[in-house]
């Protein structure tokens, strides 16, 4: 049960940061999402995102910041095996499921559904 509590709190707080960027920072949604992804990548680089994931589970895994984390993580796993070229081969490895699913389901949505209103 505790897992769910911390997932809620941490996930909610990351969304509040996003909301503050929108409202106070006056960034567009695209800028806000980009800032959060870059933040996730930098935090992973500093070794801070993994502990956050251990602590908050889906609270850190579901927000878009985890996309930045997963990109760096994939690149580092391969880079440890094969050096610099591993960054290129590993970069999109962990995020493949998310990107592929989003492309495939979005295409199917466009195939079978018409715009609402």
């Amino acid at each position: 049960m505790e897992d769910y509590f911390w997932a809620f709190v941490v996930g909610g707080l990351i969304c509040v940061i996003g909301q503050l960027l929108l409202d106070i920072g006056k960034f567009t949604p695209a800028h806000t999402m980009s800032i959060l992804v870059v933040t996730g990548a930098v935090l992973e680089g500093l070794g801070l995102y993994e502990p956050l994931l251990d602590f908050a589970g889906a609270g850190a895994g579901v927000p878009i910041t985890s996309f930045g984390h997963a990109l760096v993580q994939g690149a580092m796993i391969e880079a440890e095996k094969t050096g610099i070229i591993g960054i290129f081969t590993g970069l999109l490895e962990t995020t493949s499921a998310g990107i592929a699913a989003a492309i495939i389901f979005s295409f199917m949505a466009a195939l079978f559904f018409k715009p609402k209103e």
Binding site: M33, G45, A79, I84, A101
Partner: protein
């Protein structure tokens, strides 16, 4: 608007600018943040539930359960987008629906459906990444820099 841009304006334009700014509706920042917290947190609870389902019911390992969780969330978000539900939720929740991975999926599906009238290649294919493209480009580039720095430092024996 920055001061540099302001200087280029004529006095009348400057007057109008401050006039318009005074009448701009104030954003209810606190209420927006509370909604974002509530909805964003609930989406993460849902994610945790799906994660636990794959982990304990279908016996995935802790690392392996993340991928099916992400795919399931994306699938659900796109179903809700198709029926116009996600966009209604987004109007109320703001960043609460935009920041989770479901917002990324929603942006892609909405763009794909919206541009369908322009054809499948130029519309759906070309415009699907209208917002999601920025996330992928900046994510990939920043991750590349971070990974390159870490790898170089590791090779030099600094870390």
């Amino acid at each position: 608007m920055s001061n540099k841009q302001k200087k280029k304006l004529t006095p009348v334009q400057q007057q109008y600018h401050s006039f318009a700014k005074e009448r701009e509706p104030r954003r209810p920042v606190l209420a927006n943040c509370l909604r974002a917290f509530l909805v964003g947190g609930l989406i993460c609870i849902l994610g945790q539930g799906i994660f636990d389902f794959f982990r304990y019911v279908l016996d995935f390992s802790e690392k392996a359960a993340i991928n099916p969780m992400v795919v399931t969330l994306i699938f659900l978000a796109i179903i809700l987008t198709v029926y116009g539900v996600y966009d209604k939720m987004a109007q109320w929740a703001g960043a609460g629906t935009a920041v989770p991975i479901t917002g990324f999926a929603n942006a892609m599906a909405a763009a794909a459906i919206e541009h369908r009238t322009e054809g499948f290649v130029l519309g759906v294919g070309g415009k699907m990444f209208k917002l999601a493209g920025a996330v992928i480009v900046f994510g990939v580039f920043s991750a590349f820099i971070v990974a390159l720095l870490k790898t170089t430092l590791a090779m030099l024996g600094v870390i």
